[in-house]
Amino acid sequence: MAALSRTLLERTAEILNDDPFVKENTKRCKATLYLACENNKFALAFDNGKVRLLADGESGAEPVVSISGNKENWNKIISGLPGGLHRAFRHKLLRFEGDATTMLTIWKTIWRLGEALANENKEGR
């Protein structure tokens, strides 16, 4: 069963660090993206083209964006729902909140994050 987990996000952060879309999209950006699935909360820090999964309890730099939702809808993304996180936004499967300008600035990164989560989950590495 797919689940948004620290292990999956660690692998996903590695993938994002090698993703040319993400490097280009975040090369002049400092921001934190929180991902919340029911009681679990994780944070990815973007710092001038680098992506890092923050440790539990470590707070990220402003500005902040968050994507949150229940396990059922996160599992759809992780299981490879066509359209991924972009579709989750359009169809309101997950809540997208926080600094609006930053959210739309890193929109391509958010898209790639959804793709990476699904690919890593499928690979099961």
Binding site: H86, M103, L104, T105, W107, K108, W111
Partner: protein, 265 residues
């Protein structure tokens, strides 16, 4: 390649001239005539083809009022383009939001529009666009649209072809792309579909989650005239660009069925 002056706007169009019936090709949101680049020659087998850039798109001027946010206004421009070309009767093929434009054209001129081809189009939307979404999209419509275009292609589509589709949207002015999506979001012709008596052909990619097949099918069910439905397997929102040979074959099939329909009538 040529320009026509339509209601004071210099509109760009491409034409493959012959003695066959006229077909107007209308591109989707944030796109232009290039979206038909793999189809013009194939379509000229049955039609004298005109592909136009809507006002503000591609090489066409903006309308005097600025970027258009109403599909009916776009329809008036396209019908006026037909007047400029001295066309008395013509088919219209509209992709995505331009499916709505084509339906408006048929409603305005039932005597002139002889058939409407909806390419991943419908008479209403799935209702996923709201004010909250527009506020966000307005911040960066080009990136948002590019991601949208990339994700509504089929996973079976060649990645190189997806890059071309993504490139289409990056050519479009952000304010034009944004108003296109606002125009599309307002589309709802369900109450008028019984008045659409002209043959209606829906060619629809089965992998399109943005305008799902269901919307195309329901549009046909509401129409007041004959209909043809041609779903395309392993194709997303851009059948004519993602899988041109499959799409062109579907048009061939549509023309065969259309001929039978017309004979039967």
């Amino acid at each position: 390649m040529a320009y026509a002056y339509v209601k004071g706007v210099r509109m760009y169009y491409e034409e493959i001239a012959n003695e066959k019936p006229a077909l107007l090709l209308v591109h989707g949101a944030a796109q232009d005539t290039l979206s038909w680049r793999f189809n013009l020659q194939a379509l000229s087998r049955w039609f004298h083809v005109y592909a136009i850039d809507l006002p503000g798109h591609g090489k066409s001027q903006l309308a005097p009022t600025g970027p258009i946010d109403d599909l009916e206004v776009y329809a008036l421009y396209v019908n006026a383009f037909a007047d400029t070309m001295n066309l008395m009767r013509y088919d219209v093929m509209g992709h995505s939001m331009a499916g709505g434009i084509a339906l408006h054209m048929a409603l305005h001129r039932p005597e002139a529009v002889t058939a409407v081809f909806l390419v991943d189009g419908a008479c209403y939307t799935s209702g996923t666009y709201g004010d909250e979404m527009f506020e966000l999209v307005a911040i960066n419509p080009v990136d948002w649209f590019e991601v949208n275009f990339r994700t509504i292609c089929s996973r079976s589509t060649d990645p190189g072809r997806i890059e071309e589709i993504a490139f289409d949207v990056r050519r479009c002015a952000p304010e034009v792309a944004f108003n296109d999506i606002r125009a599309y979001a307002k589309l709802d012709l369900r109450g008028k579909m019984a008045d659409v008596k002209t043959p209606l052909i829906a060619i629809h990619g089965e992998d399109d989650w943005s305008i799902p097949c269901e919307l195309g099918k329901k549009t046909l069910e509401m129409a007041g005239g004959p209909t043809i439905y041609l779903p395309l397997h392993n194709v997303g929102h851009f059948p004519h660009t993602e899988s041109p040979s499959v799409f062109n074959s579907a048009v061939e099939e549509a023309m065969k069925q259309l001929e039978s329909l017309v004979k039967f009538q």
